[in-house]
Subunit: 215 residues, 2 copies
DNA sequence: ACGGTTTTTTACAAGATCGGGACGGTTTTT
DNA sequence: AAAAACCGTCCCGATCTTGTAAAAAACCGT
């Protein structure tokens, strides 16, 4: 998850950065609006946390520019406290608005809400969207088929533990499915080809398991 | 659009009601948490604006109850002003949090944002006017029909995720619609003809999805 | 090192799914 | 009233997915 923080106060960036990195986010930083946009165009940003008052290009302009190009989430920060400003912020397309000074935990909560972290699962270079039924590898949709996705889903729900072919047939294909156990092998193989060999481990005579740490 | 307002101060309800009705919303009101839930169960509510401090059942509880049952949006109102409270509010599942006293216009903006109204969405060479019910391609109105627009709207509200035909029938045609699933295909085809083939992607055996980046 | 067993790989045919064309019925516009 | 637009359904050919079988490779205890 890449988060861009744009603020002209180095101290502010330092604080926010520290909190977000503790939560496992990857942080990119900018000191003014121009730099913010340059970074935005050069990297895949999931969320931009932008201060309103910045040199060169202000936060509102950055927000509008980002929103014109993409669906990247934007959170506006501001030292101002007028209701009027909040209106302008929201109308410029910002997804969220937080007033300075703020409790950093609130920023985290709001950021996570914007990023819909609850439906996304990260596993090494993989990202699984449980709602969207998609699997990404290095941000690229691997185009998993129906069975492949449900296989992956069941592995994730039982990650780390060894699952027998029978259990997989029962849960992915349905308990009333009648077919060869070896069919599972083929689908494991197809899935492996898409997500990388290392992620699903074979346990001879027992079944397969999804490994937490791949490498 | 049905909005439920729950607050124990009649004056508060009166103000909010007035503003929202001016915007064309249909308002239902409750004086305490118990009444709020009763109304919620009896009517299709799009958004619940709930005061934290209420007799019998408080706002947090109402929020949790609503979220347990549905995906109805909840906006919490509060006279308190602690950051701590905002955290509790968001963690209880509330979608938005507004402190009293507030500028009614902000409440409107936030409500509309939650309801995904009044928004212009850009998607490659497309522009979708959620409010005006129009879709433009290269600034040209593509003259989408009623069903086509609502199909598009639902895709946008769930962009990037794979949506089954059944889900589309349920949400675009209505959960009580009885008809062929393949009808969806035909409308997808007609929509594609107007917006370009690339935007809506087919996922064999799963459904369709609206892609963020059309390359 | 060997032979039996289990897993991986390859190949292919059956089956399911989808896109597009066409059509008739209904509603809206002219 | 006629014409146009819109909607839902059906069908067919093209395409993708899936299950199975069979060959190749890997594994394991002796």
């Amino acid at each position: 998850m890449n988060i861009l923080i744009a603020d002209d106060e180095p101290f502010m960036i330092k604080i926010v950065k520290a909190y977000f990195e503790k939560e496992g986010f990857n942080i990119l930083q900018a000191q003014d609006g121009e730099e913010a946009l340059r970074i935005f165009y050069a990297h895949p940003i999931d969320l931009a946390i932008v201060d309103w008052m910045m040199p060169k290009v202000n936060g509102i302009q950055v927000c509008k520019e980002i929103k014109k190009q993409s669906t990247t989430k934007v959170l506006l920060l501001t030292a101002k406290g007028e209701d009027e400003d909040e209106l302008i912020a929201l109308q410029s397309g910002a997804d969220e608005y937080v007033r300075k000074p703020f409790d950093p935990r609130i920023l985290i909560v709001r950021a996570k809400k914007l990023l819909q972290m609850d439906r996304l699962i990260y596993l090494g270079d993989l990202k699984i969207d449980m709602d969207g039924q998609k699997i990404y590898r290095n941000e690229q949709d691997i185009q998993a088929t129906h069975t492949e996705f449900h296989l992956m889903k069941y592995f994730i729900e039982n990650r780390g533990i060894i699952i027998s072919r029978k259990a997989l047939l029962d849960h992915v294909w349905g308990f009333d499915y009648y077919g060869e156990e070896r069919t599972v092998d083929t689908h494991i193989r197809r899935l492996r080809a898409k997500i990388g060999d290392h992620t699903i481990k074979t346990h001879r005579g027992m079944g397969y398991s999804l490994e937490e740490n791949n490498e």
